[in-house]
Subunit: 359 residues, 2 copies
């Protein structure tokens, strides 16, 4: 079968011929429909993140997949079920994090990530997976099922952030998403689906007309241009934010978030920047943090519960949102276009087989 | 009656003669036993924090009080009950934070703090308080009841920090307290009473022999000298910490805490530093925050629930701890000694009347 991989030492994706995988006991064989491309894929391709399985000369890419169960083996699935695989797998047999269904909380060394580090991904005509790492989704979202994984990351961050405010009465009304990439926009849509947020903001640095600004405004949110209103001035210029969701990977944002927050607010950090030294007024930030009971939570990856929440959210979102967000779905012959990254690209996917409604 | 106050524009505590307060409806009259002195008192005396009630030329000091109900009025208390008052009061009649019993979550402008800002404190022979701001404590801890308020601040921070880890399985084993002042030592004792922490550490910068190091070691904890092992090196030198409690007010500690934490760990920040610019590797800290699901929670003040938890903790602690921690209790005639702050002083209080056991 054909797969999209990056070869060790190279920095571009190529089509490779590989063996169609044989499901082991407890595994299902899945025919791949679509696999999304995100910033992590670009980092893996560029060589700054992740790498092939030990001893392999290439890594099959892709961690945002949706597929159809072809052979359920002995699993709970039926042929034709639409499924999304989770990303982390135990590197050396089971460990405590996987055993309790919380692989997202495993520290470095206790996980591989399919398509990212140590284990082949889903950009192939077929893949296999143990049943506990597959999540059923409704057929209605089969074609956008590759958005379940990225949205699940936002769902987990939301869960962690909300938990951090659970020891007192927290009634958030305002939320700011830092970043108008696909993760930022998915998060904004998720927040819109949650009834508690009356006022949403999304920060970027684009000139109008711009397709992401259109999505932001069509979601009923306010676009904040960071070149005019830096994060540290959002509270004064707009309003203090009960919830801030950082999806830029721009390290200064992590610390400026403290200033953007309202009293008792929480910031969820998701970016993964490189080392970068800069100056902060650490005294003022520390004081503000304490005197107003603020919190920052870092969040990475997600587990089955978050995949299920993401599927529910996606099922509730309007069709126009996906039409605007997904700027390209490419067949294997033109897969390279899915790895383009310019200002007209928001979210892309590679299609391995077309979804056909069940009779 | 006599009270200890600081006069507007002055920076030393003095004894003043004031009217004995008359309890209003819903208030009890309390005869003061003892009132503790802490760093906030020193800041208030020095003029860097808080101030007198509007229109008053002085502020009666003291926010860590314990007393005996002299006249319960129409409240639920009986004469002779041992009570501890909370600190915050609504500045302009009730507001939502006070209405739901969470004055500790009120933002600036929505509270006064007795003995600190906008309202007279408890360093007087008698004080009155609405019943909802009084907490009953067992007679067994009457003499150390002035420790309930400071410990309640640690109990609240612990609650917030624990809540932030409640969306996943968190089984902390190691904890580090930054600061060997009275709040740090009270926190260390609180952590010792909680069964989950197997290994405790407390950081200071004192040479042996030192009374605080003795308390740390008598509590079974490891003393970490920050001049030899900075916070950023604690993880490598000792072990990564599941829980860090910052009680130094040293702003760099707030950010170095991220490095000291174990994966999925949480740091509670309690210090209130002044503005101070310095350099950090914000990129590395941000990345570490995210990839290991770490959290930081700021925490200030406390409410009735935390006072009750603190009273329970104090009742369980061994007598030797208080004998070592409380280095001086001074009558009104020698109150100035309670405001001394040298290396032999850990915790002091002013005694307004002696506790006599009920028949």
């Amino acid at each position: 079968m054909q797969a999209i991989a990056v070869e060790r030492g190279e920095n571009r994706p190529v089509v490779v011929e590989t063996e169609r995988p044989e499901p082991a006991t407890g595994e299902a064989l899945v025919r791949t429909l679509r696999v999304g491309v995100d910033g992590t894929d670009h980092e893996v391709v560029g060589g700054s993140h992740g790498g092939p399985p030990e001893g392999d000369d290439h890594l099959v890419l892709g961690h945002e997949a949706v597929g159809v169960v072809e052979d359920p083996g002995g699993t709970r699935f039926s042929p034709g079920d639409i499924v999304v695989p989770t990303v982390r797998r135990p590197p050396n047999g089971e460990n405590e994090y996987f055993a309790r269904g919380e692989p997202d909380m495993a520290p470095e060394g206790e996980y591989h990530e399919r398509g990212i580090v140590g284990k082949h991904g889903f950009m192939a005509e077929y893949f296999t997976s143990p049943e506990e790492h597959l999540v059923s989704i409704p057929e209605s979202i089969a074609e956008i099922g590759f958005l379940v994984e990225p949205l699940s990351v936002a769902e987990k961050a939301m869960e962690l952030a909300t938990a951090s405010r659970s020891s007192f009465t927290w009634e958030p009304e305002s939320a700011l998403v830092l970043g108008n990439g696909s993760l930022g926009l998915l998060t904004l849509a998720m927040l819109r689906e949650r009834s508690e947020f009356d006022r949403l903001y999304c920060l970027g640095r684009r000139d109008r007309p711009d397709p992401t600004i259109e999505i932001i405004e069509d979601l009923g949110a306010t676009y904040v241009d960071s070149r005019e209103t830096p994060v540290s001035e959002v509270a004064a210029e707009h309003e203090p934010m009960d919830f801030v969701f950082e999806a830029t990977g721009y390290a200064k944002h992590a610390f400026e978030t403290i200033e953007a927050l309202a009293p008792n607010g929480v910031g969820a950090l998701l970016g993964v920047p490189e080392p970068w030294e800069f100056d902060i007024d650490g005294g003022a930030l520390h004081k503000e943090f304490v005197l107003h009971n603020k919190a920052l939570v870092g969040s990475v990856n997600s587990n089955v519960r978050h995949f299920e929440a993401a599927a529910e959210t996606l099922a509730d979102l309007p069709g126009w949102f996906f039409d605007s967000l997904v700027t390209g779905v490419y067949d294997l012959e033109e897969f390279a276009a899915a790895f383009d990254d310019d200002d007209t690209t928001i979210k892309t996917a590679v299609q391995f087989s077309a979804y056909e409604e069940r009779r």
